[in-house]
Every structure is written in structure tokens, then in C-alpha cells.
């Protein structure tokens, strides 16, 4: 069974199930716009939660619960009502600082990114922020970001209830140790290895002797993902759902 799953599993599916595992037991997960993999993970986690997990997807007409305009997501986070959120970065460094502004010496950036969005706020207020970036290269995962849109850690006097929980990439998963302010490699996706990850990671990080392979989903989970969840994903991300799930043989 496991071999069967491994052979049929798309890399995106593994990312979805990996992230979904990080959301189990939570009450409310919010997902930003243009985030098909985190969004799918949240919907999968909800499907497994027996109705306990609430998912708020920005940009979705059917899964956005907000009625107070653009500010409501941020107010809601400050009220402590959002347990998990996803952030990314044009650059991410070893202290989990993220850069969404640009490369070079600001404001004279050589490469300009879109901007910080709500990162400088949500990173402080959402207990479980999952950093998600498929591209795992030394270009993205740098020793020190050129511009800190949002810092991974704060001084102890700062009133901060949120911060980085993990970093998920196309090659593996890192946990973040808030005390040491360092990442620790926690699993490697099938088909990748620790040397490759070390080579393509620009920052230093901790790692055990043996790093396990990222856990594959079990059969029922995959069935749920490719069935009910795929349909829900298609409502918000039709092109993504078709590409990922469209050609999958029904189980």
C-alpha cells in the first residue's frame, strides 16, 4: 500500500498532507489569497476534523467568513481567534526573518518584490505561522534577508503571541526553535536527501544524525484529498485542482 501511495503521490499532494498534519487540533485556520497548497491543506485538515476546524480563505467567495472589510482578518488575529496562517518570502533567513520587499539596499532594490502585505503584523499574532515556499534554493533561503518585512523572533519584552512554527519547502520540512532562533531539519521529502538540502540552503540550521523521510499520507487521507477536498479546492482554485487532481485515477 505504502509503495502504491508513494508511486502515485504528486509532490504537491505530499506538501498538502504534510501541512494538513500541522493543522490538526486547531479551531481556526486562515489562508491568504493565491495559496492553493496551504488552502488545500486547510480544507483537508477541516475534512478530517469532523467540523471542529474552521477555515477562512481570503479571496474565496465560499470560504471567506468576513463581513467587516479588509481589516477584519487582522482584527480577528489580534483577538486571538486565528490559530494558524501561512507566510512566504522572496527571501527567508535562518532566523525565520522574511523579506517580501526586495533584493539590494532598500529603497534602491535591484529586484523589487510585491511588498510586505500583512506579514509585519500577522507574524506577531498568529501562534502557528507556517512558512511555505516551494522553491528551496540558496537564492531564497539566505543567511540574512536584505530587508526584514517581518522578524522571526522578538525581544522578550515584546508583546508577541505568534511566530514561526515550521518552514515547508519542496525538498523538506524545518521546525523552528524559538529559543535558539534557529531552524532544525525535521524531515526530507521522498526523492531528496540531507546533503542536497544542505547544499541548497543558504542559512545554517540544526539537524539530527538521522533525519526521517516526510511521512506519506495513508490511504483514507489520500482518498479524502482526491475526492471531497479536491472538489472544495476547485471552487477557489479551479486550474490548480484540475492540474493536480483532474487526471488522478479515482481510488
Amino acid at each position: 500500500m505504502n509503495g502504491e501511495i508513494a508511486s502515485s503521490l504528486a509532490p504537491e499532494e505530499l506538501l498538502i498532507t504534510t501541512v494538513a498534519d500541522m493543522l490538526s487540533g486547531l479551531r481556526h485556520v486562515a489562508v491568504g489569497a493565491q495559496s492553493p497548497i496551504p488552502g488545500s491543506a486547510a480544507l483537508l485538515a477541516r475534512a478530517r476534523s469532523d467540523g471542529a476546524l474552521r477555515v477562512s480563505m481570503l479571496g474565496s467567495e465560499t470560504h471567506s467568513p468576513f463581513t467587516d472589510g479588509g481589516r477584519e482578518l487582522f482584527d480577528c488575529a489580534a483577538q486571538g481567534r486565528i490559530d494558524a496562517f501561512f507566510l512566504s518570502g522572496g527571501q527567508i533567513d535562518g532566523e525565520a526573518n522574511i523579506n517580501l520587499v526586495g533584493i539590494g539596499d532598500y529603497p534602491e532594490t535591484k529586484v523589487r518584490f510585491p511588498g510586505s502585505f500583512g506579514s509585519a503584523y500577522l507574524y506577531f499574532l498568529v501562534p502557528r505561522v507556517i512558512l511555505f515556499r516551494e522553491e528551496h534554493t540558496a537564492r531564497v533561503l539566505v543567511p540574512k534577508v536584505d530587508f526584514v518585512s517581518a522578524p522571526g523572533s522578538s525581544d522578550t519584552n515584546m508583546n508577541r503571541t505568534g511566530g514561526p512554527h515550521a518552514l515547508v519547502t519542496g525538498r523538506g520540512v524545518f521546525d523552528f526553535d524559538a529559543n535558539k532562533r534557529r531552524f532544525r531539519l525535521s524531515s526530507v521529502h521522498p526523492g531528496h536527501d540531507t546533503d542536497e538540502i544542505r547544499e541548497h540552503t543558504g542559512f545554517d540550521y540544526d539537524s539530527g544524525e538521522q533525519v526521517p523521510e516526510t511521512r506519506l499520507p495513508d490511504g483514507p487521507t489520500l482518498e479524502l484529498l482526491r475526492g471531497q477536498v479536491a472538489d472544495e479546492v476547485a471552487e477557489t482554485y479551479p486550474a490548480f485542482a484540475t492540474r493536480l487532481f483532474g487526471a488522478v485515477t479515482a481510488p
Binding site: Q34, D68, T109, F117, L125, V148, A150, M158, N159
Partner: protein, 274 residues
């Protein structure tokens, strides 16, 4: 009272060079037809405020040379890719970018809405954004000095809020549904200019179902009917983005020449929207 004007061109005439103009993001209500009219009339030195970000509307105004300052949490074309004219202008240093973060923009507008000089905002401390903002101050909670530092953001009072809505009535009441960032913009700005898909022959405020999603005419200076006024971006509940056109925009806007030809074809020589 709100004035019912004849066209988006009339609205563009009322937006002076140098005005501080608040704009909604692409998923909310963008008066693209007025943005084109602003480009046509050669508007200059605008200070755009993204609430909290801008998309195609901002990229196009920047590319056409209408913008001196851009205050925003982001410029995003979502899945279409990076915003070409914004990136070129940022690289060339031809616009002044005031980088912010979504909740600070909302709070700055809420401060203006309440006529207070500033509002505290959580987070931010440790972000490099703070280093570049003289309108953000680090302070403490006077009720509990142990509570750690706190950022105070200065009120943001736009001269003009420019939006597009699905429905408006002849009293200047504007139905915006759950897109209440536009309500906030109208409250915070000195004047609000609106294009609407459709003029409703009745009183939106007298309709129990419509009133809760309606900006009262009290805040609206001028209004023009403009079917497909958000084209080529979408309008919630009405129509989606014109995908093919937006991809064409992106392709052409990669170069100065391509963008100039885009403006020539779709802005200076206006054609009927799709």
C-alpha cells in the same frame, strides 16, 4: 449632496494633480474606467494609497507617469505575476514607494475616520519597514509600561477615495456589500468619487436588505454610471477578470514600448469595454 455626473471623464477632471487618492485592490471595487480617464487627461504627481494594496490599476497609473508617491502594503497582480510597470519604476527610482503593512493602512484610515491623530497597531517592531516611516512612532502602553513597545501610526486622510461599485442610487448611496474597505475609505477621505455599474431607481438606504452594505450618499461627492467600469479586472458578484486581456497587458507592459502601445490602443483611444 452627491452630484450625478455624466462620465468617468468628469470624475477624472475633479481629481487634481498631486491629489492623495485611495484605491481598492483588484478583488474589491476598482474604477478602472476612471484610471484610464486620469491617464488620458495626463494626471501628474498623484499620491496613491493602496487599501491595503493595489493591482493592475496602480501598475497602469504608475506606468503612465501619473504617480509620484505610492503608499501601499503591496502591489500584486496575484496569479498573473509581478507587476511590470511598478517593478520598472521602483528599480528606476522614478516613484517614491512608502512601504507599509495592511493593518497599519487600515488603522491609519480608521484614525482619519475618527478624527484622531494616530492609532496604536500591534506587531511591526523589528520590521525594517519601521526604519523608513516617519509617520510611525514607537511608544509604550501608558496603562501598562510592562506591556512592551507599541507602534503608533499616524492618521491617513486621503483627499479622494476612488471606487467602483455594482449599484448606486440617485441620492449617491453606494452598495458595496461586504467590501467594507470601501466604506472605510469613504469615511476617511475628504471626498469620495464613485463609478457604478448601474443606477438603481430607489433608495438603497430604505431597503432593509441593501442598507447594511451601503455607503451613505453623505460621504459621496460625485457619481457616474459606468457599465463594466472595473474592466479588465473583475467586480465581485458581477463579473470576473478578463483573463486574456490581463495576460495581454502583462505581456505588453514588460517593455516601455509595449506599454506605450497598450495605452495607445486601450486608453488614449478608448474602446468599448468587453
Amino acid at each position: 449632496m452627491s452630484e450625478l455626473v455624466t462620465s468617468a471623464e468628469d470624475l477624472a477632471e475633479r481629481i487634481p494633480d498631486g491629489a492623495k487618492v485611495a484605491l481598492a485592490p483588484d478583488y474589491s471595487g476598482c474604477s478602472m474606467v476612471t484610471a484610464r480617464a486620469l491617464i488620458s487627461r495626463g494626471a501628474k504627481n498623484l499620491h496613491l494609497i493602496g487599501v491595503p494594496s493595489v493591482g493592475f490599476q496602480g501598475d497602469m497609473l504608475i506606468g503612465a507617469g501619473c504617480v509620484k508617491t505610492l503608499e501601499t502594503a503591496a502591489v500584486t497582480l496575484d496569479e498573473y505575476g509581478p507587476a511590470p510597470r511598478f517593478m520598472a519604476a521602483a528599480k528606476a527610482g522614478s516613484i517614491n514607494v512608502i512601504d507599509g503593512t495592511c493593518p497599519a493602512i487600515h488603522s491609519g484610515l480608521q484614525a482619519a475616520e475618527k478624527g484622531i491623530p494616530f492609532m496604536p497597531v500591534r506587531g511591526i517592531i523589528g520590521s525594517d519597514l519601521l526604519e523608513h516611516r516617519d509617520d510611525w512612532i514607537t511608544s509604550t502602553d501608558p496603562f501598562d509600561e510592562q506591556d512592551g513597545p507599541l507602534v503608533l501610526v499616524k492618521a491617513i486622510r486621503p483627499d479622494i477615495a476612488l471606487i467602483h461599485a455594482p449599484l448606486a442610487d440617485r441620492n449617491g448611496n453606494i452598495w458595496i456589500g461586504v467590501r467594507r474597505e470601501m466604506m472605510l475609505m469613504a469615511h476617511a477621505a475628504r471626498e469620495t468619487f464613485v463609478t457604478a455599474e448601474e443606477i438603481y431607481d430607489g433608495d438603497l438606504l430604505a431597503d432593509e436588505a441593501r442598507a447594511p452594505g451601503t455607503i451613505p450618499g453623505l460621504y459621496v461627492s460625485a457619481l457616474a454610471e459606468a457599465a463594466s467600469g472595473a474592466w479588465p479586472v473583475g467586480l465581485f458578484g458581477r463579473y470576473g477578470p478578463d483573463d486574456a486581456h490581463l495576460r495581454e497587458y502583462l505581456e505588453r507592459a514588460r517593455t516601455d514600448e509595449g506599454f506605450a502601445s497598450y495605452l495607445e490602443e486601450f486608453v488614449y483611444t478608448p474602446r468599448a469595454a468587453k
